[in-house]
Amino acid sequence: MSVETFKYDNRIVRAFAIATVLWGIVGMAAGILIATQLVLPATNLNLQFTTFGRLRPLHTNAVIFAFVGNGMFMGIYYSLQRLCKARMFSDALSWINFWGWNGIIVSAAITLPLGLTTSKEYAELEWPIDIAIALIWVVFCINLFGTIVKRRERHMYVAIWFYISTAVTVAVLHIVNSLEVPVSLFKSYSIYAGVQDALVQWWYGHNAVAFFLTTPYLGMMYYYLPKAADRPVFSYRLSIIHFWSLIFIYIWAGPHHLLYTALPDWAQSLGMVFSVMLVAPSWGGMLNGLLTLRGAWDKVRQDPMLKFMVVAVTAYGMATLEGPTLAIKSVNSLSHYTDWTIAHVHTGALGWNGFLTFSVLYWLFPRMYKTKLWSIKLANYHFWIGLLGMMFYVVPMYASGVTQGLMWKQFNEDGFMQYPNFLEIVIQLLPMHALRAVGGILYLSGLVLMAVNLYRTAKSGKFVPDEEVQVASRAPEAAPAHHGGFTHRWLEAKPLTFTVLSIVAILIGGLVEIVPLYLVKQNVPTISSVKPYSPLELLGRDIYIREGCVGCHSQMVRPFRSETERYGEYSKAGEFVYDHPFLWGSKRTGPDLHRLGGKYPDAWHYNHMDNPRDTSPGSIMPRYSWLLKQTLETTSLPARINALRKVGVPYPAGYENGQAQNDLQAQSLKIVANLKTGSIKAEPTREIIAVVAYLQRLGTDIKAEVKK
């Protein structure tokens, strides 16, 4: 048996570790800022770049792709090398992965505040950045599979399966959901419209949670938890069942984000059933993690790393029980669009991803620097402050979510709405929103303590950039004595076969949903009165997208009496056939806007956008006074119409050459005249005119149908 000497690359692990800490601070600080804006709207400094609608995607992208993304790469690059007993396939690819990924994050941090967004949740970045993401992901995949192929360890441990499923599924999801037609360098339209766009988006959105926030972290749990507890995982058999059933089921569950919407009922039911089934593999994984600690709970008392890990795995269990509960249609009818969803995702983000990242960081630094953790006491303070922060975040959000959902639905004994004024409900929730911001501040403080602790740990030790090890080289004849017949052993020795089977497992669910999706495309009942947006309305819609209005306002009236009483006729699938992208939203901090058209005069909208508190005292909506001053950009109108025509919107041939501009001017002048009757003197070339045109169009097609 020959012995090989080689070195593990710790530099790349350290780089990702530092990035995850820094981006964690940035992402959470952005979260605290926007949480504060929901109580004190003036904290946006009345600047468009720091307003809620634009910063909310910055917060979610920073936490998901920057904090968790770098944390994931950190965890994978360290454990993969050790599990494969091989250095990463290519140092150059490792560094392209690091700088490319962080360059993408920097570009997100610049473009999102500028309002350059597709508005699709967690996929907001515009097309050039989407292409960059795909390329960097391919680099990561080559590095991952290259390392697996040249490994010295015969078998692939369970953690590696989770890494493989992450790599292939994220690639599939990202590409399918990002198919868009460019208008300019920083503007594009989704190739899907309305119902199809919604289904693809939430197939992506849900599985981004599954395969970006969950599977890589489960892989990390399966590696770092046994390492820290110094005992093997509770049941390897359970981990096999956990892996295959989790990746098979997860992909089906996306439609639970669209319950009671205009999505066909069969798709909703399918999403609900598979979501409920998802409890089983999720809890199998959680129990496998916690039971690994059987007989070692004394270590949890002493080791802060294990404390963080135990809370992370417990939070995973809580979030994965709550998720399927929220996917039950009757529960969802109360919870959807409320703060309950926000509480749910933060149990996952703060508890599962956050605490697991902290746990791995506390474990890695002393090892990479060959020293002790600088202060165990400080790490314990971090633990308790972080836990308190999490509680202060999620408990008020649960209270807020349930209060909100119940008040929306409450009728009095005479059969009228108890709270017909939406704002009255918003004001009830403000104390809970304030408490949530306090929770965020506590959680971030804990993170800062950790940063100090890790910095001091690094200072007290000496970094080992290349860790030299010697292992026996992999001999082909070294076959095991104990054959298990056609077993996982066979499969694990063949990364390519394993990968193909993983892809098949995730594609089945996707295909069964996507094939009918194309059938739906041909079968969404067309409503003859639904027409493409006029040029002015189209530009207004694009400003609505730019400002991130979808972050607080839905455009989907569900078929409940409490909603039809409050908003009007429920939304029909056929009304959205020209919506590229769809703007149904997932949260109602403000009211639904789908039936807003014609509800108020133009002048009301003008004043409301200038200062919402003038028309709605107590409102927490930010001012959009810049819309009254900025000139509407119309030169790109032909390119926009062209791009939409390419994705199937039936603008007449040549419409963009002249006629569109004439129609735009005529509609602008009409709105200016309307504003004059409300004693408002406005320029027809201002952005606000387009926004008013769009808001007044919303949901009116169906009214024309009813009149007929």
């Binding site: 007993k85 390897y236 270590k299």
Partner: protein, 72 residues
């Protein structure tokens, strides 16, 4: 609206049924497969991450819990 969509999609009732049958077959196969795995193999795999620094090479620094004890 929903009836309209349903009535025009061919074989819509089959999708739900197909999905559940597919999952049932998949899960049953998976269970049988995993139950047939040999104990020796499972044990070997379980211990794989614990072996990764047990080879020749620099000793890893002590566990945090050991540090905690030593600090007391």
């Amino acid at each position: 609206m929903i009836e309209n969509v349903l009535s025009r999609i061919g074989g819509i009732a089959g999708y739900g049924l197909f999905s559940i049958c597919l999952f049932f077959a998949f899960f049953t196969g998976l269970l049988i497969w995993s139950l047939r795995l040999k104990k020796a193999y499972l044990k070997e795999m379980q211990e794989l991450p614990l072996r990764d620094d047990a080879e020749v090479g620099p000793k890893p620094s002590p566990e945090n819990h050991a540090l905690a004890k030593s600090e007391k």
